[in-house]
């Protein structure tokens, strides 16, 4: 699966936990039958809140919440949902499985990559990062993609530009 967006942020400092996040993780610890079950929801919570999961976060989960660091890291590396590097503001997950691929997903991904490259050629960081992901189970709307948490269906070479533009304009103030 291709990844395109990790070069610039590899040494990004880990963002700190917010009190709300701590409270949320705390609630997971007792919500399930075992404490270990809290690992997945806790990682999701961190990623939702902070965008990605750093090694420091794993250590906090160990020290402050009593989740074994090896177990947390096992989950973190096993599941492809978790990002261990800071993503771009708009992280695009593009399905490149059978149906989407048949309906032209790869061409759209290439186009998005071209879009990102244009930014980089200008020496700027593109607000977009793209990765190919396995089937998102919305094949009736293939090709499909997720931009952060927004699902877009029937994305084609033709309409991808307008979608990216919409996001780019949202981002322009930042």
């Amino acid at each position: 699966m291709s990844e395109h967006n990790h070069k610039l942020n590899s040494n990004e400092p880990a963002p700190a936990f917010t009190p709300a996040l701590r409270k949320q993780i705390e609630s997971f610890l007792t919500r399930y039958e075992t404490k270990r079950s809290a690992i997945l929801p806790a990682l999701h919570a961190i990623q939702d809140e902070l965008g990605w999961i750093a090694d420091e976060h794993v250590e906090i989960l160990d020290k402050e919440f009593g989740l074994h660091r090896v177990q947390v890291r096992e989950a973190l590396t096993f599941y492809s949902a978790y990002r261990q590097k800071k993503p771009r503001p708009y992280h695009i997950q593009f399905c490149n499985n059978i149906v989407c691929c048949m309906l032209g997903a790869n061409e759209v991904i290439d186009k998005i990559k071209g879009h990102i490259k244009k930014f980089e050629e200008k020496g700027k960081e593109s607000p977009f990062g793209v990765e190919g992901v396995p089937c998102m189970c919305v094949c009736d709307g293939a090709p499909a993609m997720l931009v952060n948490k927004d699902r877009h269906l029937k994305v084609t070479k033709e309409n991808i530009d307008s979608i990216l533009e919409k996001y780019a304009s949202l981002k322009s103030g930042v």
Binding site: R31, E74, A81, N97, I98, M102, C135
Partner: protein
């Protein structure tokens, strides 16, 4: 077939209704009636009813649901669990998402009935994490059900206690396998557990656990409500009832179709879905999600959609994900996408699967890069053959079966590609 092909909506009854997901809509249209009826029966009777209805697991394997429930030890007084497998991830499938979209209460009701039948007091709905909207709908539905007294310590005054919680997966296909799902629910890596013991004896936290597909559970209230006999009138004798078929590809109207089992596939494609888009012809069809062996266009002729008929053609109904491959698709690319998917998703536990999927993907990478060898097809066939039936779960088979079928049925096209060292 006549009568058995009547299009009764069981799991998609709320399709297109305004405000479909609300509890009120559900109750107004006969929702939770099945649960009330179940409470008038003995737990054993509920299991017998589901058994008699001939309901088969809709997740892919088609194991009889009532039978699965009856494996749970009855005299065990400890905690038992009902897990709804909503971790839809088989490529080509989108029916569980659709049920959640139509009416999540149906799933909850099915879970409560199942819990009542096996004596479980706790249920989990395990959903894929990237169904962001769907998770919200589920959470809303659970809240509504608690408020209305359908969930809690004393459901509808019967004294039956049942709680449902929601758990999100984290992007692993293997968690759609029932024991992989259980590992994941325990906060571990989603690696399938060794069987025996089966989850009905020792599952979540080593307690008796039933893991059912969303569609299976959603069909339960209707069966209890209308009786096993009514369910048996639909579909075929060995595969009664209706099933959701997820039709995708270049057809005019791709989407979810609830059809009785035994429905002719050509009718589905040409009439219900309106046929292929102009300019495209069917080249092949994957009838049950990407794990199912591929069928050629010829093999679709006269094929009916039920477990036995498709098995007779050497493929499987699986999750009911019908992917129509049209002639724009290169089979090399299809094979590459397929083996890459399984390579990416293999949990890495069993050697034949871990290494086999990697090896297949490795060979395909070589072929795509123009480094293919003459005997690569033979090699891929051999590898697949030796991956099958050798592992804890069926992912290895799921990778091997389509590979074998594509290599066998479209070998000439791939060999041609290898020969020319470039895209065919």
């Amino acid at each position: 077939m006549g009568d058995t092909l009547t299009k009764v909506k069981i799991t998609t009854a709320f399709e297109g209704k305004p405000n479909a997901r609300a509890l009120k809509t559900y109750v107004d249209n006969g929702g939770y009636a099945g649960l009330k009826k179940a409470f008038t029966m003995q737990p054993g009777q509920v299991i017998d009813e589901v058994k008699a209805a001939g309901l088969r697991g809709r997740g892919g394997a088609g194991f009889p649901t009532g039978m699965k429930w009856s494996f749970v030890p009855k005299d065990d007084k400890g905690p038992k669990y009902i897990i709804c497998n909503n971790d839809e991830s088989e490529p080509g499938t989108f029916k569980d998402r659709y049920i959640t979209e139509c009416n999540p209460h149906m799933i909850l009701e099915g879970m409560i009935i199942a819990g009542f039948a096996i004596g479980a007091n706790k249920g989990y709905i395990y959903t894929r994490y990237d169904f962001f909207e769907e998770i919200k709908w589920l959470e809303t539905a659970i809240r509504e059900a608690y408020d209305a007294g359908f969930l809690g310590d004393n459901i509808l005054g019967t004294g039956f206690k049942f709680h449902i919680d929601h758990y999100a997966g984290a992007g692993a296909y293997i968690c759609g396998e029932e024991t992989g799902l259980l590992s994941s629910l325990e906060g571990k890596k989603g690696q399938p557990k060794l069987k025996p013991p089966f989850p009905a004896i020792s599952g979540y936290l080593h307690r008796p656990t039933i893991v059912n597909n969303t569609e299976t559970l959603a069909a339960v209230p209707w069966i209890i409500n209308h009786g096993a006999a009514a369910h048996k009138t639909m579909g075929t004798e060995k595969s009664p009832g209706t099933k959701l078929f997820c039709l995708s590809g270049r057809v005019k109207r791709p989407g979810v179709y609830e059809l009785p089992l035994g429905y002719p596939i050509e009718k589905l494609i040409n009439e219900d879905a309106g046929g292929m888009l102009p300019g495209y012809n069917i080249k092949a069809c994957i009838p049950g999600g990407s794990s199912a062996p591929i069928l050629t266009a010829e093999e679709l002729k006269g094929l009916t959609l039920d477990y036995e008929a498709i098995a007779a053609k050497g493929s499987m109904l699986g999750s009911g994900a019908i992917m129509i491959i049209d002639d724009s698709m290169s089979m090399v690319e299809l094979l590459k996408v397929t083996v890459d998917f399984y390579h990416h998703e293999s949990c890495g536990q069993c050697t034949p699967c871990r290494e086999g999927t990697g090896w297949l993907a490795n060979i395909m990478t070589g072929i795509m890069a123009g480094q293919g060898k003459k005997d690569d097809l033979q090699r891929m066939f051999e590898i697949s053959r030796n991956m099958e039936g050798k592992t804890i779960c069926a992912l290895s088979d799921a990778a091997a079966m389509p590979t074998k079928s594509i290599v066998t049925k479209f070998g000439a096209e791939i060999a041609d590609f290898i020969e020319r060292g470039k895209r065919a």
